[in-house]
Symmetry: C2
Subunit: 290 residues, 2 copies
């Protein structure tokens, strides 16, 4: 079985492991805090790669940020990564081939190849966390767009400038469907300006009516966003991942979407490619594209 | 020069002409009222095709409705076409090869090959008429989706159920960006429940402030929709076509979008593939896909 080194570079930690070409992790997953500067990140990556280089066919990196269409540099959306990160040419980090792709795109690919959307050639993964990420697969290929940035889940859910989004625009899907969106919805419903996402989730567990209402409104916003995506992309299935996805009733969302969708009926699933879907997906994508 | 017979089947009329493989119409464009029943439509198409069959390499049909991925049958969205239309197998209408595709997709392809978005491999055409249609081109290929229905411009612009859309859902892009959307915006702004789209357009010409306000709100809604599409698809350029596009200040829309877009900057153009972009695009697509 051929092995690759999978690396996942996040804002707080870097994870890495040997991954075979079926997407199975071999042995331990190592974790280390993400250094504060780009030079230190580059140095660390070189050291990690050096330790494994001889054993692997190639190196596959999942990273925050937009990756260009040549899959060698990050070109945008690097809010959590230090200055200079965009200057790193990942292909120079190893004597072996290096593949790099956005982490949400990699995770979407892992779901498509070995996870919840396995075999669904037209599928979209939505990562519901503090924000919302996404990866879009069309006819068995990852949608990259003109420069590599496709899949930004920033489309307006309101014309009324109710919530400013992290991107600078107003009322993006992210501002409603994320964990932060749930918090903001709960503030609107409860009138409590300091309520947290955690409070809402606990409230739901304890049968608090306003928390349940907030969760339902949040879930309906997710369904509304998925409906629009389904009409645009004529997607077979949607996969929800991220820290917030476990609070979504996927059957209810699926039902709501299918009552109104104009294209084909959709399936909505919980993710199942696991916590390391990013690095695994990077290896699976690298396998096909390198 | 090889010729094809291009046919455009709309809800009110059927147009047809000989088109060469550069998309140039040869001679007259014929027009005839669309018959009231599917059997009559089928009979008429056979007669039209019979007259031209010997001169052409293939027959290319642009039609209202969703066309399946085998490009031989309409499978959805046939509001303006009679019952039974979905049963027509277009490939049986001629002894020559028959290509059929949705009219908005065909027009988008004509813009991409010979029109405003010529050479833009990632482009989206929006047809602003009574409703809103669309055709999406990704990496030089038409986006069809799972069943052929991709490109439905029905994504929510509001969570508040303000305007029911023709599709049954609420507050779709179509309900704001269409001619009907402009009328509804003008009703909200003027309080006049019987104002027409024509009244607004005339009002703008005459310097009526409320008409100008309505047009600006409408244009801003178009920009908001384009912003979301740009973030999702990382599109290079947008082309506006249809009866309403001439009222859009494309430079203003482009500026508004580019102030907030997360992916690459976009261009927004008026369509220029002409009134017969549907049939011409059908021939150009047929040329590549048959």
């Amino acid at each position: 079985m051929n092995l690759a080194l999978g690396i996942d570079i996040g804002g707080t930690k870097i994870s890495y492991a040997l991954v075979d070409n079926n997407g199975i992790i071999n042995g331990e997953v190592f974790k280390i805090s993400t250094p504060k500067t780009s030079n230190e990140i580059k140095k660390l990556l070189k050291e990690i790669i050096k330790d494994f280089e001889e054993k692997v066919e190639f190196v596959a990196i999942a990273t925050a940020g937009t990756v260009n269409n040549e899959n060698n540099k990050v070109i945008g959306s690097t809010a959590n990564l230090p200055e200079g990160y965009k200057e790193i040419d990942f292909s120079e980090l190893s004597c072996k081939k290096v593949f790099v792709e956005n982490d949400a795109n990699c995770a979407a690919w892992a779901e498509y190849r070995i996870g919840a959307s396995k075999g669904c050639k037209n599928s979209i993964m939505l990562t519901l966390g503090t924000g919302v990420g996404g990866g879009i697969i069309i006819n068995g290929k990852l949608l990259k767009g003109r420069s590599g940035g496709a899949g930004e889940m920033h489309f307006a859910m309101s014309r009324n400038k109710r919530r400013q989004c992290t991107c600078g625009a107003w009322d993006c899907f992210e501002a409603y469907a994320s964990g932060n969106g749930l918090r903001k919805t709960a503030i609107e419903i409860t009138g409590n300006p300091v309520i947290t996402t955690y409070n809402v989730v606990e409230g739901v567990k304890n049968g608090d009516m306003k928390s349940i209402e907030a969760l339902n409104v949040w879930q309906n916003d997710i369904a509304l966003g998925i409906l629009g995506l389904a009409n645009l992309f004529d997607t077979e299935c949607f996969v929800l991942s991220g820290s917030m996805e476990k609070f979504v009733d996927v059957e209810e969302v699926e039902k709501t979407v299918n009552e109104l969708v104009l294209t084909s009926k959709v399936k909505v699933y919980h993710a199942k490619a696991g916590n390391y879907a990013g690095m695994v997906g990077a290896v699976l994508l690298g396998n096909e594209l390198l």
